[in-house]
Amino acid sequence: MKARVHVMLKNGVLDPQGEAVRHALGALGFDGVNGVRQGKVIELDLADGATEADVTQMCEKLLANTVIESYSVEMG
């Protein structure tokens, strides 16, 4: 069973890497990119029977730092 966790910096938390990517896109001639936010995706290969609640606990304890990051879990 697979789960996919998306971790993003919360809105309002400066994302200098996203900003750098936005500038680079502008320099390549891609106009109209008003914002870029960069996050990460963590794929988990889980034993059968694992639940979304288990993955949520993993996020709270380790995978995300909820002071600065938000996360979402996709099962299956």
Partner: protein, 222 residues
């Protein structure tokens, strides 16, 4: 007075921190990240700079879940002293012993240079060797030193006189120029700059030595 310095895979300031504690008169032991317990009678734990566990996931995140960090948390909960420098500060925020988080530097670059630090409070056993308002020269060396906390937390830290040091010329985008903060009981200090790299005449500066002298002095007489 006994100090312990934690060694993670990827720590690279552990020996410097130990030398600074020793020069101030502490008896120092090194503890490995897989150890379950601190040595008997440890007064202060030093969490050194470096790149614990390769900075994987987030700086300090994996170190914060290590065996020894559980012992460090228990030590702090008992009122024990902890000094976290650079990666050590990141570890302390990840453990929840200090509030906030350290983000990527606003300018995206790793910064390695000596900066002016303003001592914001002398009201702690770490900073009692300075006067509030003193400006000291201490090296920084980090990529993720941009201190972030929500506005309420920043205000709470400021109102409780828990900001230990601020940057004279903010190098990394840190909120309120914060370079180091204290816990509510003033016994846990996390700071991005490296006082242990300004603790010997051979370092080119000795402004950091007063921190170790004050701490060791206070705990030796306690």
């Amino acid at each position: 007075m006994r100090a312990a310095v934690v060694v993670f895979p990827g720590s690279n300031c552990d020996r410097d921190l130990a030398v600074a504690f020793e020069a101030a008169g502490a008896e120092v032991s090194m503890v490995w990240h897989k150890d379950d317990a601190l040595p008997e009678g440890v007064d202060v734990v030093g969490i050194p700079g470096g790149f614990s566990y390769g900075d994987y996931l987030r700086c300090g995140a994996i170190a914060a879940q290590s065996n020894i960090c559980n012992a460090v948390k228990a030590h702090a909960d008992r009122g024990g002293y902890v000094l976290g420098v650079c990666n050590g500060f990141q570890v302390l925020t990840e453990t929840g012993l200090l509030p906030g988080a350290l983000l990527r530097n606003a300018g995206l670059k790793y910064i390695c240079k000596t900066v002016g630090l303003k001592v914001e409070t002398s009201n702690s056993d770490f900073t009692a060797g300075y006067n509030a308002g003193d400006v000291i020269d201490i090296p920084i060396a980090h990529h993720d030193g941009n201190y972030f906390a929500d506005a309420d937390t920043i205000k709470r830290l400021q109102d409780a006189d828990r900001v230990a040091f601020t940057y004279e010329d903010n190098p990394n985008g840190a909120q309120a120029d914060i370079a180091g903060i204290l816990s509510a009981n003033r016994r846990v200090l996390g700071m991005m700059p490296h006082p242990e790299r300004a603790a010997d005449i051979g370092h080119g500066g000795t402004d950091g030595a007063a921190l170790f002298r004050a701490l060791v002095g206070a705990l030796a007489t306690a």
